[in-house]
């Protein structure tokens, strides 16, 4: 077990992958001398050189598409997009090509590409740097969506993602980079959700940046005598229905904590699936605690008001068990 920050864990994962497989390379804006917008790739240029730690111009569509092409050409690119908002510039390549080529080609051309990007709010970066679109991306067939919430997942998810023959998007919550945690450095599965805390009374479902919110809420709830089970989804596409439904089957209540906007977010999908498959198990409506439907404001108090807070989760859970 080593103690690392989330940032270091991502960096070690990249380093390790590049050592294990020479087809792996990192490409994106300022991943080289700058060290990555959030310092993730610091030091990698020195070890692997500018060919494999490849700075790109500001051309999101082209370099994401080039990642697709390089994957088709036998390499294993890791493409870094600085922030989820900028990924919109590359959405044509992501949806119309990466997610679609295997199908359109009748199974001939798969795209073993990993795209990493920073997501989420909480650092007063305002409306063009703070979106949480990972749940929205999970709408797209052909993609896998990973949302590491822990240092161990940040360290362990990359290699399996690179082994996946299909395009994988990894969303790293910007608020997590400085968080410290343990990891033994081994690979983890990228298929299942994890129960991060067991409980009997209510299932709180979270992922990425909202896991800490859910766990904090669970502590508060415990003080009130409500025993919450906390699920970390880990993967938003495909969703691990079995773990979700298994837990809800025991607790009969569910609260979903999602930093994305409420309408049409991943929380809606989870709610719909629970209702479809376990309606008669439910003792209360499935509750959603999501971000307010507003572009994220700069001012600290407004930003915090826009985001799911432990108190909101506590209130929803309390309501569910009442």
């Amino acid at each position: 077990m080593t103690q690392l920050t989330y940032r270091e864990a991502v960096r070690e994962a990249i380093r390790d992958a590049m050592r294990r497989d020479e087809r792996v390379f990192l490409m994106g804006e300022d991943v080289g001398p700058y060290g990555g917008a959030f310092g993730v790739s610091l030091g990698l240029l020195e070890e692997f050189g500018p060919d494999r730690v490849r700075d790109t111009p500001l051309s999101e569509s082209a370099f994401v598409g080039a990642g697709i092409g390089a994957a088709l050409g036998g390499l294993r690119p890791i493409v870094e997009i600085m922030t989820v908002n900028f990924s919109l510039l590359a959405l044509d390549q992501i949806m119309n090509n990466a997610a679609t080529l295997l199908h359109m080609s009748g199974g001939q051309f798969n795209v073993p590409l990993v795209i990493r990007m920073t997501t989420g709010a909480g650092r007063q970066l305002a409306a063009q740097h703070s979106h949480s679109l990972e749940g929205w991306y999970a709408h797209i067939p052909g993609l896998r969506i990973l949302t590491p919430a822990t240092v161990d997942d940040a360290r362990g998810m990359l290699w399996p993602a690179l082994q996946c023959p299909d395009p994988v998007l990894i969303f790293e919550h910007g608020g997590l980079y400085n968080v410290t945690g343990d990891t033994d450095g081994s690979d983890v599965d990228i298929d299942t959700a994890a129960v991060r805390r067991t409980g009997r009374d209510v299932t709180v479902i979270a992922y990425g940046g909202t896991l800490a919110t859910a766990l904090a809420a669970a502590d508060d709830l415990a003080a009130e005598g409500v025993d919450a089970e906390v699920i970390d989804l880990r993967t938003l596409r495909p969703l691990d229905d079995a773990t979700i439904l298994g837990s809800v089957g025991r607790t009969h209540r569910a609260v979903i904590v999602d930093e994305g906007w409420r309408s049409g977010g991943i929380a809606a999908e989870i709610s719909a699936r629970i209702s479809e498959q376990a309606l008669y198990d439910l003792d209360a409506p499935v509750a959603r605690v999501c971000s307010a439907e507003v572009p994220v404001p700069y001012a600290h108090h407004l930003e915090q008001a826009a985001l799911p807070q432990p108190d909101d989760v506590v209130a929803a859970a309390r309501q569910a068990v009442s």
């Binding site: 111009p57 082209a62 598409g65 119309n96 295997l102 996946c164």
Partner: protein, 336 residues
């Protein structure tokens, strides 16, 4: 940037007749496709290449099997010239299981791993980033491979064009950029889409070699393409060919073609690449009517067989609808 093709050793007769044969083969294939479209055997959008055959045939003649091709939705000609089998292309037009994309793609999305034909993209300019990436992989692994990417004059206005030309030049990638300038993007004439209409000058502004070629002259295209490919393989980075050509038919089967004069079409037809080469070879004594007749009859046989096979071919199983969404079956997991 040079604008005239340099003199080259005359290719031999068999080679020239081969080029003629390829062009005729594409022409006859598409003429039949029009009939099959009317007969509702082929559906969806269908974009004809008639008039532009010299471009595909000339460029493909310069490539080898290790090279890669990225194409557009107007790609029957590219596919056939690249060596996709006619039955597999025709079956794809029908949406049959034996189609080169197993019926998923149709006319706009022909794919073939065997010939490194990476589609068949219907997002204008959307193939360029893929081609850049393929070339990057070759460059990074020091493989002596060329990626040829086709796109139209209309694609030049797209942001992806700009980003990709810069990347290709910046990284000195082994990529052959084939701009099929047929003067129109659907109904929009080049000078209504571009403030500066000289497309090879635009390409040269990214610090790469760029050259205008008569896209109605298959020998000129073939010469220019083999020069370009040689340069690229020698490590000189990207090469841009502006291939000046013209589509005789409407943009697609849906297009009433209201935006241009019939006279303009007829003028270009005067310079038809197939007629021109036929005349040229006949005048040079390299071709006679009997040979033409033999070619036509061979091609008709090939085409008949392809149509017949497509007619008879099975369709994909409906159970396989979601088969190619993920290669990794674990990815299937979303409750359908």
């Amino acid at each position: 940037m040079t604008t005239t093709a340099p003199a080259q050793a005359a290719p031999d007769t068999a080679y020239r007749i081969g080029l003629l044969r390829q062009m005729l083969r594409i022409r006859r294939f598409e003429e039949r496709c029009v009939e099959l479209y009317s007969a509702t055997k082929i559906r969806g959008f269908m974009h004809l290449y008639i008039g532009e055959e010299a471009v595909a045939v000339g460029v493909m003649s310069a490539l080898t099997p290790v090279d890669a091709v990225v194409s557009t939705y107007r790609e029957h000609g590219h596919a056939l010239a690249r060596g996709l089998s006619m039955p597999s292309v025709m079956a794809e037009m029908y949406g049959k299981a034996t189609g080169c994309s197993h019926g998923r793609g149709g006319s706009m999305h022909l794919f073939d791993a065997g010939t490194r034909f990476y589609g068949g993209s219907a997002i204008v300019a959307g193939g360029l980033p893929l081609a850049v990436g393929l070339a990057l992989a070759d460059r990074m692994t020091a493989r002596p491979v060329v990626t040829a990417c086709f796109f139209g004059d209309g694609a030049v206005a797209e942001g992806e064009f700009h980003e990709c030309l810069n990347l290709a030049a910046l990284w000195r990638l082994p990529i052959l950029l084939c701009c099929e300038n047929n003067l129109y993007a659907m109904g929009t004439r080049l000078d209504r889409a571009q403030a500066a209409t000289n497309l090879s000058e635009r390409a040269a502004s990214y610090a790469m070699t760029a050259r205008v070629v008569d896209g109605m002259d298959v020998l000129a295209v073939a010469d220019a393409a083999s020069d370009a490919v040689a340069q690229i393989r020698a490590g000189h980075g990207p090469y841009f060919l502006e291939l000046r050509t013209y589509r005789y038919r409407a943009h697609s089967m849906y297009d009433p073609d209201r935006y241009r004069d019939k006279a303009e079409i007829e003028q270009w037809q005067q310079r038809d690449p197939i007629d021109a080469l036929t005349t040229h070879l006949t005048d040079a004594g390299e071709l006679d009517e009997a040979t033409v007749a033999r070619l036509e009859s061979e091609l008709a046989d090939e085409l008949d067989a392809a149509v017949e096979a497509a007619d008879r071919a099975p369709v994909e199983q409906v159970d396989d609808l979601t088969r190619f969404v993920y290669r990794d079956p674990a990815g299937y997991g979303t409750t359908g």
